[in-house]
Symmetry: C2
Subunit: 411 residues, 2 copies
């Protein structure tokens, strides 16, 4: 079950000049399934990434970090390789060896250095990566590299997703038109023993060295770091922005007028992708936006949004379409703002003002709250009344199906 998540249309996914994708069926976990994706970048491209903070991070995540740190010494990043069916996590030294062997094999095919490749894995953890299957299939993926393969690429990185997730946009800037296209996967951190969030965005804009790193972190914080299904952070989460520089738009500094336009477009596209993960959240029947305003700092707003978005009590109440104010107020109260004056807190469910000055709004009618709760998309707005900072998070409800999906998978 998904919440307002239409299938992406192939024709809408615009090619990004200088960026190619090739797909293969390696038979990693199941036969006859796209499970290997190779992506290549034209010379001169910039690449930046944000990775899981989980200390049990997977071998490919460690290799990605090292290769991005070595960029320059060993040449710029020119290719990415993603396998599904196996996360290569909790696999120790042999896992690291397999990740490096994957890079080495693809480097040979592409005639570049292994250090110019970023590897990604997602799927079962604690099982050895079937490296031979991957090495055998890599040439097939390389053989069908093309700029028009976005839809197939989105399919190739799916694990527990019920459908591929991709979107595309063109943006006009003073310096010319830029294309941005992205894909992602994820539906909760699940499955034996978890799935993973992966996000890849490519653009034909060019960025001077050093610019893309900060930009990627900013974009991640306002998109993929602002969603939660069940609060669990996987061992493999990765988000990558790639800029081929094949358009007329070349950004030299963050003061460039086109920079702000591109940043807004990247945030908007990344949010759309991130929200697709929530819309496909395990067992999701409701899409919830938690908007916190009036904080002293964005960080404290994030604490409150997270407490509300993570609360099993709030999430089950939304599943039941029950405007259960007390559960939301309680979550605000334990979010961790030790000097919060609750008498200044206001709350709205959609357009209905439900909590006024820390208590029930005297004008609030239960029927109004219930009307809002019937919708598949609901915004909870919380005003902390102590500043001007804001933060928004997106999440889904907690349903019977979430328990079924996660309890029954291996049985």
């Amino acid at each position: 079950m998904t919440v307002n998540l239409p299938l992406p249309q192939k024709a809408e996914l615009k090619p990004v000049k200088g960026f190619q994708m090739g797909i293969a069926e390696a038979g990693i976990k199941k036969a006859n399934r796209k499970d290997l994706l190779v992506m290549t970048l034209a010379p001169g491209s910039q690449v930046a990434g944000v990775f899981t903070l989980n200390r049990f991070c997977a071998a490919p995540v460690q290799v990605c970090r090292e290769h991005l740190a070595q960029e320059g010494r060993n040449g710029e990043i020119r290719a990415l390789v993603v396998n599904t069916g196996n996360a290569n996590a909790g696999t120790g030294e042999s896992g690291m060896k397999h990740a490096l062997e994957t890079c080495a094999a693809l480097a040979k095919d592409l005639k570049i250095n292994p250090e110019q490749i970023l590897p990604f894995s997602t799927g079962v953890i604690l099982e050895p990566l079937p490296i031979e299957k991957i090495i055998t299939a890599l040439p097939k993926a390389v053989a069908n590299l093309g700029e028009d393969n976005w839809f197939d690429a989105a399919e190739a990185i799916m694990t527990t997703d019920t459908q591929p997730k991709a979107t595309s946009v063109t943006v006009e800037t003073p310096a010319g038109v830029v294309t941005i296209t992205g894909i992602c996967k994820g539906a909760g951190m699940i499955h034996p023993n978890m799935a993973t969030m992966l996000g890849f965005i490519a653009t034909d804009a060019g960025f001077a060295p050093g610019l893309l790193g900060n930009l990627t972190r900013e974009v991640a914080d306002l998109s993929f770091n602002a969603i939660t299904i069940d609060g669990d952070t996987s061992t493999n989460d990765s988000f990558i922005i790639m800029a081929t520089g094949q358009s007329a738009v070349q950004i030299q500094s963050s003061n460039d007028p086109s920079y702000a336009i591109l940043k807004d477009a990247l945030i908007s596209l990344a949010r759309k992708l991130a929200q697709m993960i929530v819309r496909d959240g395990e067992g999701a029947t409701k899409f919830m936006t938690i908007e916190v305003v009036g904080g002293k700092t964005p960080e404290e707003c994030r604490l409150v949004a997270k407490a509300v978005a993570h609360s099993p009590l709030v999430k089950t109440a939304f599943f039941a379409s029950d405007p259960n104010l007390g559960r939301i107020l309680a979550a605000i109260g334990y979010a961790g703002i030790s000097d919060l004056d609750v008498n200044r807190v206001q709350m709205w469910l959609g357009d209905v003002w439900v909590a006024k000055d820390g208590g029930r709004n005297p004008d609030y009618q239960e029927a109004d709250g219930q009307r809002v709760m019937q919708a598949p998309e609901i915004t909870v707005k919380i005003d902390l009344g102590r500043g001007t900072a804001t933060q928004t998070m997106w999440t889904c409800d907690l349903s019977h199906d979430y328990v079924s999906i996660n309890a029954d998978y291996r049985s």
Copy 2:
């Protein structure tokens, strides 16, 4: 459904000299239901409490804090009053007025100062306390005060609990025999809009002024603060230890040899009570002990225990009796120890060594893990391999019934 939670036997609940309980049916939410409890303490008693940190704390919690702070100026605490059916939370100024009126009415009946009374409420929030019903019923509760009413008292504080929770012990110390009896309530933070954890322990030991405060915090941290059902902290959570000093055992300082014995006994009894709440956790089918050892500090051990105990993925896996190692390792990884060396992490499911040096134990057989997971009580032991600190938490699984109970309550 409960996990190994037998009904307490009246005969086993020992009276504590100097401590009396009286029960009444005030009809606060439903008729013909014990919903009002008055407790009185002999002169010279010591009382200490630990309260919710939720910023949306209820009016009675604020009054308790004030009256405990005023102790001495206005006389020692001599009585407690608990109502169920209404939490008197999110009720603003009128809520505070009602809590104080409750104390005033009881003070008149008992001929003490209102500041010598601690009020407690649990039940629906955001609804005005029906103060007239409480004031009318108070004399009835006072009329049947007695030392033998522990079972009825445990019943009188129930809300969503499926059964009363109480236990009792006698302890021999060098100075003589001490009786400790306690009751508690709670089954998850739920219901329209939440329930609450309340715990009351009485002993006939005597403590010099000032000793009981620290002791109560230590006991709470190792018992009620070490359990979680769904991670939600209510607006009304309170834990109180009362010492009447009516036995021969009079503790003058924490160096007294009897102090350590009593402390151990109080921790043990409070843990038993706290675990009863987990065993009665909403939808619980499994009782889980999360034991973290080998940490640098108790605090970091608590972070890890909490991450594992709160993870919906871990909890659904236990519901499914699925020895899903990856989910537990992932929770350890994101618990917040930024310099954790995962290669030193060991994990056991019951007596089975499942994760060795951060990866799957080569000798681990899935069948062994599955055998352990079939039991209704399961211990997960995690060795962080970086120190000697330890912390243990208790929790239950996340089942279909949890979603049903919390989603369907108001429909």
